[in-house]
């Protein structure tokens, strides 16, 4: 076991980690937007749209992320849409994250009893005020733990982008391995970097959760 040969590649590792973070944040933001739109559509009155969203959720939740990345990367060029690896992975991961977010956001909204909305209306609040002051705060608090743990899974899931050669952390691992032949050491270091990133996010989310929502709730 010899970790010394890896020391020279620290800049590549840092670059890879930055690309991983970019991919995670871009996919999470796009995925959350998809999730909000989907949750609104699911609560809406347009039946075909509801079916469409249902189909989308089931399709993306029941097939492996890896295959979804392959499809975006290898199949879309057949239709004249050739995306570079990073963008292809971002599209696939956004759609994957989006499928999970729809359900998370919807169940957050559904967790508010109907009577509270009516109570707000009785007090003379407008629809927007009811949403802003009565529905949104508890809905956010209820959805928060699920969103954050899904975010950490997304961070770890970006490693699959290496399979279409997006130059994120796991792809960098392959590059360093091919230069140093130190397979085990490389992947041990990479695992440690992912671990450090995931734990940092978990700690950050816990602090935000306590500060913003007094979460976990005291019983």
């Amino acid at each position: 076991m010899n970790f010394l040969p890896l020391w020279r590649y620290q800049n590549q590792l840092i670059d890879g980690a930055i690309v991983t973070l970019e991919l995670t944040v871009i996919s999470a933001v796009c995925g959350l937007l998809i999730g909000i739109a989907g949750a609104v559509a699911l609560n809406g009155r347009i039946t075909p749209l509801r079916w469409l969203v249902r189909g989308y959720i089931e399709l993306f939740r029941n097939t492996p992320s890896l295959i979804q990345i392959f499809i975006v990367f290898f199949v879309l060029p057949n239709f004249g849409l050739k995306l570079p690896a990073f963008e292809a992975a971002a599209v696939a991961l956004s759609l994957y994250f989006g499928a999970y977010s729809v359900e998370i956001i919807r169940s957050g909204l559904d967790s508010i009893p109907r009577s509270q909305v009516e109570a707000g209306a009785c007090l003379g609040l407008s629809g927007w005020q009811v949403f802003r002051h009565i529905i949104l705060p508890p809905a956010l608090r209820n959805a928060y733990p699920a969103v954050t743990s899904q975010f950490v899974l997304l961070l770890l899931g970006t490693s699959l982008a290496s399979q279409v050669a997006a130059d994120e952390l796991f792809h960098v691992a392959g590059f360093i391995e091919s230069r140093t032949y130190r397979s085990f050491e490389v992947y041990a270091v990479i695992c440690a970097v992912y671990f450090a990133m995931a734990m940092s996010f978990k700690a950050l989310f816990a602090i935000i959760g306590v500060a913003a929502f007094r979460w976990p709730r005291r019983r």
Binding site: N62, P64, L66, I67, Q68, F70, L156, Q163, I190, C191
Partner: protein
Amino acid sequence: MRSFSLIDFVSLFTALRWTVALVVLALAFGAPLALGLALGRISRFAGLRWAMAACIQVIQSVPLLGLLFFFYFGMPMFLGIQVPAIIAVTVAYTLYTAAFLGEIWRGGLEAVKQAQWEAGACLGLSAWQQFRHIIAPQALRLSLPPTVGFLVQLIKGTSLASILGFVELARAGQVVSAATFQPLLTYALVAAIYFALCLPLTLWSRTLEARLDGSR
């Protein structure tokens, strides 16, 4: 280059047995370990609780792909002997399964009220009898929906074994796609097979959850 033919269909479906084999291996070794982790997490000994929590945190904070590579290259190094790839991969999937199922089952065990243990103790049952006859059946019912949900994650997760050269469904898809230059048809078919495997489980998990909600 050749066209997509019956042979390609057959090769995709025969590759399924590796997908199934990996799931079965992961469950066979991972589930008992998960039970141990869950019991350790609710144990009376703080040291044991902390150790188990640390193990679970580490495994859950590393990508599955990283776990696979770590053991694939690490097992021969730790043991000093060549091990077949299947053993390394099984170890990785086992730990992955144990960490996630362990947390799910701990949630189930903790959801059963403390008073139920005490009631069992009052009846003169031993700790094991309390667990076996009072706690476990209730916890099992509570954690069944997320357990089935995790099974879907596991089935999807076996697609990563393709990267280490196991010819399971995802890898067979790559091979067929490369041979026929028909990525659209091939990957659509691969996705459809995964979908057909996972959707019934997802729906089952949802029914179980709804039933649980109704009964409370």
